[in-house]
């Protein structure tokens, strides 16, 4: 597997009068070519800040407090803005959270897609129109949509227009932040399958950020679990779901109410605040296995079985 993106010790902090909110606090992972990489976690764990960090979209009062994001050999955090602009959309596309509401209500879909294309790559108008059309086709929308305004489309159709825009220039990596929230289940299924197709039919690499573990189970090849600004576990989706290692992952998986599942149990306690993460392992106040070492020493990331990493003291000896 060839590596496409490497994130090394990335830190995204937000300044506030109470001190820094350490939303992403030292995250390291790698995304391989042509895979769907899922990032899961609950609200406030830093998933969206992580995406902002990777794409260098962190806006004040937020700032990148450290780390590297290597994409195709260059550190996206260090290159000049102009160069970054050339990479965005042509090689690296982004589907932001709630993107379907970001379409301009008074401009036809056709123009919006063409504008986005021309903004990032020089070509004739005719060529850009062709690209827009084929992108719409690949998300299953008919030609008529080109001449329509956003209000004439349903939420799911707008989300597909956004995906069409993102893939129009055939980027190598697509980052989708909560692509299915606020959509009805049937539409959700369509969008998730579409993301999967980006990988299978178009050879793209997809990073999907979602709080919904079931969505990850359906589309991801590998998955990273975030908790309190850190990644606590990474592995192939089958390994993580069938043999979750971190107590948080275990809790998260058994907390999903699902049809045919008799035993559902929540995780007691509440997530900590990014202003003041707990010392040691950040999950220890909610963890039933917590020992003294968990309360004082931060567990390192260890590879417990091939490709399956966890940061938890329970797995210390096996490494």
């Amino acid at each position: 597997m060839k590596s496409l993106l490497q994130v090394k010790d990335l830190k995204v902090y937000y300044k506030s009068i109470w001190g820094d909110f350490k939303s992403v606090d030292g995250v390291t992972f790698e995304v391989y070519e042509n895979e769907v990489f899922g990032i899961a976690g609950e609200s406030g764990c830093g998933k969206s800040s992580l995406v902002d960090g990777i794409l260098r979209l962190v806006a004040p009062p937020g700032y990148i407090a450290g780390g590297e994001v290597i994409f195709e050999g260059v550190d996206l955090l260090k290159i000049p803005e102009k160069e970054l602009r050339r990479i965005r959309w042509t090689k690296l596309a982004y589907i932001p959270q709630g993107a379907m509401n970001s379409l301009n209500p008074v401009i036809r879909i056709e123009e919006q897609i063409i504008d986005a294309i021309l903004d990032h790559k020089q070509m004739s108008k005719r060529k850009s129109r062709q690209l827009a059309l084929s992108a719409l086709k690949s998300v299953g929308l008919p030609v008529e949509v080109m001449q329509m305004y956003p209000h004439e489309l349903s939420g799911g159709m707008k989300q597909r227009v956004i995906i069409a825009m993102a893939i129009a220039l055939k980027p190598r990596l697509v980052v989708a932040d909560e692509p299915t929230t606020a959509l009805d289940v049937v539409i959700q299924r369509g969008i998730l399958q579409l993301l999967r197709r980006l990988k299978e039919d178009y050879g793209m690499t997809v990073i999907m950020v979602s709080h919904d573990m079931a969505a990850h189970a359906q589309v991801a090849d590998r998955i990273a679990i975030m908790y309190a600004g850190k990644i606590v576990e990474i592995g192939f989706v089958y390994d993580v779901f069938e043999d979750p290692l971190h107590p948080y992952t275990k809790g998260l998986i058994s907390a999903i109410p699902s049809i045919g599942r008799k035993y559902v149990k929540g995780i007691p306690g509440l997530p900590p605040s990014p202003l003041n993460w707990p010392a040691g392992c950040r999950f220890h106040p909610r963890c039933t296995y917590a020992t003294d070492v968990c309360r004082s020493v931060e567990p390192p990331m260890r590879e417990v079985s091939p490709g399956h990493f966890v940061s938890c003291h329970l797995y210390g000896e096996k490494a």
Binding site: E42, S43, G44, V139, G140, L141, P142, E144, E152, S154, G155, G156, M157, R160, D184, V185, V186, I187, Q188, R189, G190, L192, Q193, L194, R197, H211, D212, M213, A214, A215, A217, Q218, A220, V237, Y238, F241, E242, G251, L252, I253, A255, I256, P257, S258, I259, V264, K265, G266, I267, P268, L270, P271
Partner: protein, 329 residues
Amino acid sequence: MSIPLLELRNITKVFRIGGGLGLFSTRTIKAVDSVSFTMPADKPVIVALVGESGSGKTTIARMILGLLKPTSGDILYRGRSVSQWLKENRLEYYKEVQPIFQDPYSIYNPFYRIDRVLKMTIRKFKLASSEQEAEKMIVEAMREVGLRPEDLLGRYPHQLSGGERQRFMLVRILLIKPRLIVADEPVSMIDVSLRAIFLDHLLSLRDKLGTSCLYITHDLNTASYVADSIIVLCHGRVVEDGSANEVISDPLHPYTKLLLTSLPVPDPRQRWGEEIDLSTLETFEKIKAEKGCVFHARCPYATDECRERAPPLIEAKPGRRVACFLYTS
């Protein structure tokens, strides 16, 4: 049969849309269309009202809570219409019927400490005879739902997390001890790890205090977890209902079937089989049909009859109602 706890009789709600001041309004939308169902009074139950966005589920909740008036039809609580309750025994009605709303962020007045919300509740419903008793009740109710009074009392709403706020709603419920909770998407904004805990509280309210609940949701997964029975709504109409087990294991209406097969299973070994055809996912015609069955535009079994006439809600099996011509012959 004894008088039901809650009974909806042919409830219809029509909204006018467009046009300033209603002067130019030409379009109307039937958000709720002849909905009838009952909840029993003899034993506490959790009834799930399941539907997608635009199905009219929130409108139904608001009508039961007296926040909206039905265009036609009756809502009876313990045999008396809600409008009559509100006119004559408003306080008593809200002592018995209490809401839990979806968004735990917008229901609190940001200027008041959380204690005040609870104390006002106690004062309004005259739940305690003294200040000390009130405080004791608050502390006990908070412990019951896993909130630490020593940490949280005296705080302002913005200092609480979403999970904590939603649990404060439960504290209110524990103080008031209503007979019926109308919970509109109560867990859709709280985290998965806390969702099951909240749902378990609804179950224990049913089992320990005998509180019934109308659990309104878009999510069949959580509905199957808490509900005794399930009512499926589609574009303002009831298309199917029955006991939760039966509706889930043997769905009758093609819409229920579609919903169930679309649910993502949290297991990578059980991925969706065939892909759904994206081009048929949504059509330009208003998905809700003007006449005929509300689901015919998306239904694989639709016939001319379905496009012409709306199927009546009939009893297909004992305890199972369905509105579909597949079951009328």
